[in-house]
Symmetry: C2
Subunit: 389 residues, 2 copies
Amino acid sequence: MRITEIRENTASISSSIRNAYISFSRMTISVVAVITDVVRGGRPVVGYGFCSNGRYAQGGILRERFIPRVLETPPRDLLDEAHDNLDPFRIWDSFMADEKPGGHGDRAVAAGALDMAVWDAVAKLAEQPLWRLLAERYNGGRHDERVLVYPGGGYYYPGKGLEQLQDEMRGYRDQGYQVVKMKIGGAALEEDLQRIEAVLGIVGSGRALAVDANGRFDLGTALAYGEAMREFELFWYEEPADPLDYLLHATLAEHYPHSLATGENLFSRQDLVNLLRHGGLRPDRDWLQLDPALSYGLTEYLRVIGSVEDHGWSRRRLIPHGGHQLALNVAAGLQTGGSESYPGVFQPYGGFADDIAVEEGYTRPHDTPGIGVERRAKMYAELRRLTET
Amino acid sequence: MRITEIRENTASISSSIRNAYISFSRMTISVVAVITDVVRGGRPVVGYGFCSNGRYAQGGILRERFIPRVLETPPRDLLDEAHDNLDPFRIWDSFMADEKPGGHGDRAVAAGALDMAVWDAVAKLAEQPLWRLLAERYNGGRHDERVLVYPGGGYYYPGKGLEQLQDEMRGYRDQGYQVVKMKIGGAALEEDLQRIEAVLGIVGSGRALAVDANGRFDLGTALAYGEAMREFELFWYEEPADPLDYLLHATLAEHYPHSLATGENLFSRQDLVNLLRHGGLRPDRDWLQLDPALSYGLTEYLRVIGSVEDHGWSRRRLIPHGGHQLALNVAAGLQTGGSESYPGVFQPYGGFADDIAVEEGYTRPHDTPGIGVERRAKMYAELRRLTET
């Protein structure tokens, strides 16, 4: 058994939306196919992966560093002990060879796409849905039958007023979501408070609404928003400021009594450990959003879960950014807290299986081998192009 | 006045050397040319830049994100107030548009190469050596006539024994260097101690020797090396462990009484601020090695100097990694602590002007407009290829 080829390409997930920090009008991702020499049903087993949104495609790093290193490694050194499947940890070590420590950014995103494709192949070769393979290998066979999901939405776009925002949120509720999320920080505080109150008019309670500042605020603004939003007792107040400014988060947590959430722009286990050590977050209420498809993949995320528990936190406080099927598999198979979801944006890569509904704020895992990309028709059609030429 | 074109290419700086963490056998860098429409002596004014070693070329990020954003910005928005030169801060803002916060890695390296080329162009357009322009704009006209430099050497390579190591160090002393540096952590402690003692036999005192573990050690090993090396009173003990493990550094600083140095694998102002806040380093003896050609360029480094001083440190504690002419200009014009130098490796990009010697451990700044790439013949011949086709 061996990897015969690894292909990558850049896909557009352009969306005419803004958060408080960036426009997504030119957003791209990398898509990856890991092709094996194992043939099932007349076709080679192929693992597919892609990086999550927000940090752009990473074709340069994949083509120039990661893919050649994997393909130059003797194939048997990439197999597990029994030599009956690929070993994601050995493959991870092979593509990270001769990479210096620190500097966890675009490299972590490239690794996220490649590592996802590897795990999709591994689960397909094992003829198991990834979540079940994870449950059996790393979670004593336990798994969750349903996974908490919430739509990442409420973006700013030209001409969007309070009514459109309310319509959007009503739509999410109609689709079965309970907790919804909206952006803040792209307007003045007074206008954002009007937007929040408009959405509360739809969802009824702050316990069903999360807000996301996308790292925009300085300490004074973060505190001012916190004070103004305090009465709403929101589900969470996300990424108030620079994700690496741990001291700011510790100060905010001293003043804002309700849930904070951050981590989508931390890209390694070590960065998350720094947040736990220095960020003053509270294990009984705050949320950690590190996204495995941006931060060295599931392979690193398994180490993340270990470190989170070493620091006395429950893995239930982990709800990844990104709204992709990898996060859903992780949540179901490793019993973390849930996953973001993108029913409306970053298509066709946002969302889960076409034929599995969201009910009362939860969705269920799929039953096909791998991550489940074949259960998402438009996305799978795009991914398939990698292996059709 | 406008930028007419920005070109980039990948250059090999392959060296058959190892540190404790990686091999440099396939190391590459990005080289960049910023071409203006200003003609001097019959040729357009061109700024040249390159990223520092250790983190690979970043052509993907430059081609797909940074260069298009600069070229799509209305040219007058990239000029300074007087409209008589390019404005590096506005150009920096243009290429960092729609980039999320956090994740400072390869993106910072790409920015380092592009930003260096911009500053080279700015100094050439101002008809000043960059160090003098920096002194006048940002340092009240003060500058240093000589700059502390030390050779980054003492690498591991196959067949290199103690005699070759001693010969290498003797060579640096013959070239005029006083303080020399050698790698540790690529061998067992006992062997490394023999290597250190062999070099001390050449340089005479630990005050003339720095050692560099390149982030290899865990806490126990870092402490053990510190204890074993304590009697030597070394010039510094560099990058003992993961550069982002601030708590480890704080613990080590409690036990190791002499100078520590780190920062070459921190790539932003915020990461360095975290080191100052949480890393337990001591402003009277420790060294900060953030490399502007890896960490968003001189534009970010000016902010770094501000933050270092805001935290009560002297800018003299800043000695960048990288051994490139940008660091020499920064040290001379902004009166920081000095610069690494590569008389032997990473050619032709290691080293300063061909015709300016090192004397008693110091070198002098050049007197040609720009960063001084024209004063380094082999490097300039490679850079020139960017604009000759």
